[in-house]
């Protein structure tokens, strides 16, 4: 396993997690016009939305259980995607999701880097017991990314999707805190001193 170093909570090797600014509503609207992207993200009917829709959403999104970030490249600070955790603090579980909205930024390791950051956030900052996700059967690339990040296949929702006249499965994946810790130990991830000293 390659070593992976999480420097601080928000900064990875290729991307960092940051707030999505109001003026970036245009990017979110543009991504919503990419039907392929929207079909990777959720069960909803693909339906393009104007920038004002996302502006309103940003104002609303204040649930204490929801942690939402933009994914920005370290190289040029460009917003290329977004990601979030929807937490159930009673049980220490969270649903994780991520999307690289900029088509030319897919398949380059940004999603994996952001996934590692979000796992760090989930276990180091939110102190969760586990992280859960779902990946659609036709999204092989995402599944490989999640496997690389240590997620374990926990079951298959059979024929839960109906798209282009075909039934598709959904794979459920989960990662326990103990598995994440063991994996980090194996990869010899050491937190920098400044993170550990008061």
């Amino acid at each position: 396993m390659s070593s992976y170093h999480i420097g601080d909570l928000y900064t990875g090797k290729l991307v960092r997690l940051g707030a999505v600014k109001a003026e970036e509503k245009d990017a979110l609207s543009r991504w919503s016009h990419d039907a392929e992207y929207m079909r990777m993200m959720n069960f909803n009917v693909a339906y393009p939305q104007p920038p004002s829709f996302y502006e309103e959403k940003m104002k609303e999104d204040h649930s204490p259980n929801s942690f939402y970030f933009g994914v920005r490249t370290l190289a040029d600070d460009k917003l290329i995607g977004n990601t979030g955790l929807w937490c159930d603090f009673t049980h220490g579980d969270a649903w994780f999701w991520i999307g690289i909205g900029e088509a030319d930024s897919r398949g380059k390791g940004y999603g994996y880097d952001a996934t590692e950051l979000m796992l760090g956030y989930a276990f180091r900052e939110l102190n969760l017991y586990r992280v859960t996700l779902g990946v659609f059967g036709y999204n092989e690339r995402a599944r490989r990314t999640y496997e690389k990040a240590g997620f374990v296949h926990e079951g298959t929702q059979r024929e839960v999707l109906y798209r282009e006249g075909k039934r598709w499965d959904l794979q459920d994946m989960g990662l326990l805190r103990s598995e994440w810790e063991a994996r980090r130990e194996q990869a010899h991830v050491v937190e920098p001193e400044r993170m550990l000293s008061p």
Binding site: T90, D93, T132, Q157, V160, R163, R167, D172
Partner: protein, 197 residues
């Protein structure tokens, strides 16, 4: 063409939630921590009949949500609740059910209600798949779902934390072809016809 009965099983029937009776019963059930811990992962919390009524008023997505009261055929007693939450574009639905009156648990009422709701999903709503969640500390419910034809397909390991213990969060489902085959084996629903179209 004839239609089998949609609402009536062998022990229970699906009926409208009529207030104040339903709200008062549900408010009473929320004071039963065991019940609250079986029907969902949210922290057990008590609510009043007035709050139940207000929640029903506020219910969103009415076009994708089908909620019922469960009543015994013998005695017409309100014993529980059940519902379906539909994702129309994918032809699947979540199924939820609870037997609020403790003395009616573990006696086949739940299984009968699950069968009715499943049948409603396939026959009335045209679904391809019915799915549900059940916790690892609720083997009784799991048996009921298995009897109704559901298959266990996903196990979220340790996702439920109760009294310091970790239990699995399990997902089960039944697909249309499986349900059809089961109807064939058990004899068609049209045998219990009471209404004609």
């Amino acid at each position: 063409m004839t239609f089998g009965t949609l609402y009536t099983g062998s022990l229970v029937r699906l009926a409208a939630r009529i207030n104040p009776e339903f709200a008062e019963a549900l408010a009473r059930w929320t004071h039963d921590a065991e019940y609250m811990r079986l029907i969902g992962g949210d922290p057990a919390r008590m609510i009043s009949a007035a709050q139940v009524e207000a929640q029903i008023q506020k219910e969103k997505n009415k076009e994708s949500s089908f909620e019922f009261a469960l009543r015994t055929i013998d005695g017409d007693k309100l014993i529980g609740e059940g519902g379906l939450s539909v994702k129309w574009n994918h032809q699947h639905t979540w199924l939820g059910i609870g037997i609020g009156e403790p003395e009616y648990r573990n006696r086949g009422y739940g299984t009968d209600a699950v069968k009715l709701l499943t049948s409603y999903a396939f026959r009335e709503l045209g679904m391809h798949r019915v799915q549900l969640g059940v916790f690892g500390n609720n083997p009784r419910a799991m048996r009921a779902y298995e009897k109704a034809g559901f298959t266990r397909e996903v196990v979220h390991r340790g996702a439920i934390h109760r009294d310091g213990q970790r239990y699995d969060d399990i997902m089960m489902s039944i697909l249309r072809p499986e349900w059809d085959a089961m109807q064939e084996r058990e004899g068609s629903h049209s045998q219990q016809d009471t209404t004609r179209g």
